[in-house]
Structure formats: structure tokens, C-alpha cells
Symmetry: C2
Subunit: 350 residues, 2 copies
């Protein structure tokens, strides 16, 4: 159906405030809610962190008005979880109309919320800014559909697609502005993921520009190559897929994964909904295994030469095998260009 | 010096109309001229084709007013060539002030035009939109400074920097919109240049979206691999670096070049100021030989895989060897991104 410009504006506002919960909702989705009357905003709310009020309740608690219109990016829940079902309160508070961004694919909801609202006489319109709603929660959707943490690959590339020169030098391919923007990506993900190659070669701290409690770092070190002295162990909560490293001050969590997919499943069980992979070879492996959901590439207008190090897997033989990114976003950053897009379509079929 | 916003606007207009002469001035520069009085435009002119009026005269001929201000992107000429010197007429017509984009590095001018004007009491301001003026005439400048045709490389790339999958398939990496934009590039250059690889593999017609008399195509076929039946021979003026092909209806011009650099020198002698290279391997060779002046890359957000075919040379060992593009221009085209930039700095030191 076609939505009014006003409806889209209110939904966009709901999506915008939903983002405030980023990094604190664990395996819950990001949800924002806007209440209006006669196209004027009466109250707003969002799901601020795991265990806290849902967005709809957060908004409803801020007003006593009745007969409101409610905009929420995700189908209101219909089940008793950490909090009572939102649909119950929406009906009790005599909300007249509900606009929903997307259905909640969580088995406990999955259309039931919408049905209950309709049965109670609430007018329900589903699919307002559906794509935007799905993109907002692609990590949650990956979790629900694939039972694993979602993976974003961050990569700095030359125009000719290289992540390092043939002698391994790679600092820095992109500009200061791009690197700064890249650091902000860390704040949008629950954890950062690197392989032993990156940990050894660059020895990065993997810090975060925002001060966040329990900033999480995941190391894939299957061959036990990374020493206890690696800078990344200095702070944050550490997860290691690899052998025990006895000399570490802070006790890391060791994960016994069968493979990369299983590692991402285990991470989700740890409440990590999204990881940002910054490693070159590990990124290639994740793409090859169909485990990369999103790519954020910073392209610098320079040529490194065909002997430089590429970042894509070497599996595909012909052009039709190539992996297309969808929902592309292109942005200039200084002299570089940032290209974002999605590799998996988990958020599409819902 | 700092120029007023108004001055820049008039100079930009001069640059804009200068472009109308593109493809018809042979080895002459592109020049546009704007005449103003009290910051109102009185007349405009441009150099429309080789042998025709210079831009300044074209503009002055349209008005009888005196005491005007003249904006021209290139230093007015001081020598008798195909036409009498412009400075003479500027002085005779009692132009009060002259704004110049850049000095003309042509040995016959090279500051002399500016000097004569000043000596005659004309106020002269040089360097208004200097960079834009240089970019406009980078082909002319390449000709003057390096005595050869300038080279623009057009390339369609995947996000991972490939021009074809490992089985050679490359049609099409980029979108229809990018390909359409790429065809328009042909109109901005005097000739199109391909190697035998491209002529054999893709067998392109190399047509032009605008109907132009004497549309020129250059084939590098050092090993005489391309047959007479190749589609590119069907129309246009053909130049071949390679052995004589007897079966061709239209007589091509055969060039005996010593090397790629010499080929570009010979092409300039033929009145070809700029070539657009669309071939993969030939592009790489031109970049390697420091003969590529500009790159226009269309990047499609897809991954072809590390075994795909790259386009850059394999000479450079470390990151500091990498070739940086300058004067970058970034534009979204459909789902692709177009990155333009210059590899040589011929237009910088003037």
C-alpha cells in the first residue's frame, strides 16, 4: 500500500530513535515508537536496553491521551517475555491506528501481534518504510533466521581493489577521514572480530571511540599464533577461538567452535548480535562461507598494482558467479568513497 | 590573489562555453570568453574549431562597446598564427580589464600576451579559476609539454578491482547507466584507443553517441592478430599500429611507432589531442609506462573474486610506490560509483 508522506516521516523518526538502543539490546531488536494525534507528535519512546521497557510502552507511559496513532518499526509483541505483551497495553490505551514497519519474524510473534490488534478493532497498516525497518534490524533478523551473529566486513581498498601492497604494507591506504569514519562503525556493532593475521601484523588495540562498558573483541586464532602480549588483550571483554593463553591478566572467554559459522552461533549465545570484521584474510573466508552479511568498503583513488593483496575469495569462475551487493549506499569521505551494501538477503524474505 | 565571486562566475561561464569546441580544435586549446560591463554580461564567444576565430575575437565581434572587462580561461595569444594576435585587438578595442584563467605554456605565448596587455595599460589579473582552466585543457597542456596525445583510461571495475572474471567474462560488470555514461566519454576525446586483446575478445564497434565527422579509432595490433572483419573497421577514420591489412574497404592510416609513447606522439601529429583507452591490458601498459593522464573508473558493488582479472600493472612493490590520483571527482551513477582523477601532473606546473 502507499503511505502518506507524513506517515513515512513519523516512521523515520521511530527508526531514528530506535538506534539509540544500539549495542545495549543484546539479542533484542532495535525498536522506536512515535505517538501522534492529528499529525502532531505527542510522545516518543524506544527500547533502551535488554530487559527494559519496549518502545511502545516507553512512549505510551509519557502521555495519558487516548485515541492516538502509533508508529513502530517492528510488529508489537504478543507474548510475555521480560515484559508483558505490548499489544495488550496498546489496546487498553485505546490506540486507534497502528503503523508497523515490518512483521516480527520471531516465532513467538510473527503476525500474531498484528492479528490481536486487528481483532480488537485497531486499524493496522503494515509495511510503512519496510525496507528501512529491515535494514535497521538486519542483525536481529540474521539472529532470528540464521541463529548466528551478523557479520559486517570493513575494508580499505585501493581503486584497483587491493588491501595491501605486495610487500604487505597497508598503513594507510585510505585517508584520515575514512579511518575516522571506519572507527565509528565499531560503535554500531556489538563486537569486533579479527583473525590472527591482522592481530600479528598490525597488532591493533581495537579500541572504540565511544566509551562503552564491556566492549567486546573476538580473536580467531586457530593455530595459536597470537602471543599474550598482543595489544588487543589490554582492555575490553575478550573472546578467543583458539588455545588457552595463560599469561593474560583478564580472563578471556574461550570458545570451542567447530567452524566459522559455529563461532558466530556461539557468539550470538553470548548476546553478541553483530560483529565487525576488520581482518583481511578472515573477511575473505567469511565471504567465501556465505557468512558475510554486509560490506563497508572505503575506496581510495590510488593504484597499488596487480601484485598487491586482494580481499575477495578465489572461488568464483565466471561473471555470473559474482556476488552482488544490494541496498547500496554511496558516500564521499574526503578524497575517498565509502560503499556500503548487503551480501545476504536475510532481511528480505520475512 | 583572491578573486570576487562574480569574477569566478564569469570565468566559469567562459570555461563552460569553451567546451563547445571540444573535438574540433585539433591541437588548439579550448577557449571561452565572456565580456562584461558593470558586472553584466555583454557578449560571449569561444574558439569553435581549428582555423576559426579565437574566443576573444568571437566575443568582441558581437559588440561595439568599449571599456569592457574580459574573462578568458587561457592567456590571449600574442603571435600571428592562423589568425592575428588577440592582444592587438583587445588593446585596439580599449578593453579595460582582463581576467585570465591560466598562462599559455605554448612557447610562442608563455607570458608574452600578458606582458603586452600590461604594457598597453590594460589591467591584467591572472589565475582566476586556474585549476579549472588547467583541467579543461589538460589534453592541450599534455600536447605542449609532452608533445603527445593525452590518454584517458576508462575502466569498469568490481568492488574488488576486477575487470573480468577468471574465465574472461566481463559483460557486463557495471550497470546500463554506467555504460551509457561511459559512451559519453567518447565524445570528450578525439579518438578511441584499443589493443588487439579487446578488439578480438569483445569485437566492439566503438561507435560514438554523437554523429561526428571523422570519428577516429586507433588500434594497437603489434602482432597482427586482428582480422580485417573486425567490427571496429566498419566506420570512422582508422589508425593502426601494426601490419597492413589488405582486405579493408576503407584505407586505414598505418603508423610506424617505436613504442607506445611514440605512438601517442604520432597521433598528436595527426591532430589527435586526446585518446580514450578502453582496453584492459593496454590500459595497464599505459599506466606502467607513465603515459596514462586520467582515469575514469566505474565501480560496481559486486565481488568477482581474487582470481579475476585486474587492470593495474604489476610493477610496484610497496605502498609508497602506489600511484595517487589527484583532482578527484566522485559521482553516483545508478548503483555504481564513478571515480575520475588525474595521474600525471602536467597541468600543474605551468
Amino acid at each position: 500500500m502507499k503511505f502518506r508522506k507524513k506517515d513515512k516521516e513519523f516512521m523515520l523518526e521511530a527508526i531514528k530513535i530506535a538506534k539509540k538502543g544500539r549495542g545495549r539490546t543484546k539479542t533484542n531488536p532495535l525498536v522506536g515508537c512515535v505517538l501522534t494525534k492529528n499529525d502532531e507528535i505527542i510522545a516518543k519512546g524506544y527500547h533502551s536496553s535488554y530487559g527494559q521497557k519496549h518502545a511502545e510502552i516507553d512512549a505510551l507511559d509519557k502521555t495519558e491521551e487516548e485515541g492516538l496513532t502509533l508508529y513502530v518499526n517492528l510488529e508489537p509483541c504478543s507474548h510475555y517475555g521480560k515484559t508483558p505483551p505490548c499489544v495488550k497495553q496498546i489496546i487498553e490505551r485505546k490506540v486507534k491506528t497502528v503503523f508497523v514497519g515490518m512483521k516480527d519474524p520471531n516465532k513467538k510473534v510473527n503476525g500474531k501481534g498484528l492479528r490481536i490488534l486487528k481483532q480488537a478493532g485497531v486499524k493496522v497498516y503494515q509495511g510503512c518504510l519496510e525496507n528501512e525497518s529491515k535494514l535497521l534490524n538486519y542483525s536481529y533478523l540474521t539472529g532470528i533466521k540464521k541463529n548466528r551473529a551478523s557479520v559486517t566486513i570493513k575494508v580499505a581498498l585501493s581503486l584497483d581493489g587491493k588491501i595491501a601492497a605486495c610487500d604487505g604494507t597497508s598503513q594507510w591506504i585510505t585517508s584520515k577521514e575514512s579511518r575516522h569514519d571506519g572507527k565509528k562503525l565499531r560503535n554500531k556493532n556489538d563486537a569486533i572480530l579479527v583473525g590472527s593475521g591482522t592481530a600479528l601484523k598490525d597488532n591493533p588495540v581495537l579500541n572504540r571511540s565511544l566509551r562503552v562498558k564491556n566492549w567486546k573483541k573476538v580473536l580467531v586464532d586457530r593455530k595459536n599464533k597470537v602471543a599474550e602480549s598482543a595489544k588487543m588483550f589490554k582492555d575490553g571483554k575478550i573472546y578467543i577461538w583458539g588455545k588457552r593463553k595463560n599469561g593474560l591478566d583478564k580472563k578471556p572467554k574461550y570458545l570451542k567452535a567447530k567452524n566459522l559459522k559455529n563461532l558466530l552461533e556461539l557468539l550470538r549465545k553470548e548476546g553478541i548480535q553483530s560483529v565487525l570484521c576488520e581482518g583481511g584474510m578472515l573477511s575473505s573466508e567469511l565471504i567465501k562461507e556465505n557468512l558475510a552479511d554486509k560490506i563497508v568498503a572505503y575506496i581510495s583513488p590510488k593504484l597499488i598494482g596487480s601484485q598487491g593483496l586482494g580481499f575477495s575469495p578465489s572461488e568464483w569462475k565466471t561473471l555470473s558467479d559474482s556476488k552482488k551487493l544490494c541496498d547500496i549506499n554511496i558516500k564521499k569521505i574526503g578524497k575517498d568513497v565509502k560503499i556500503e551494501g548487503y551480501l545476504t538477503d536475510v532481511y528480505r524474505d520475512n
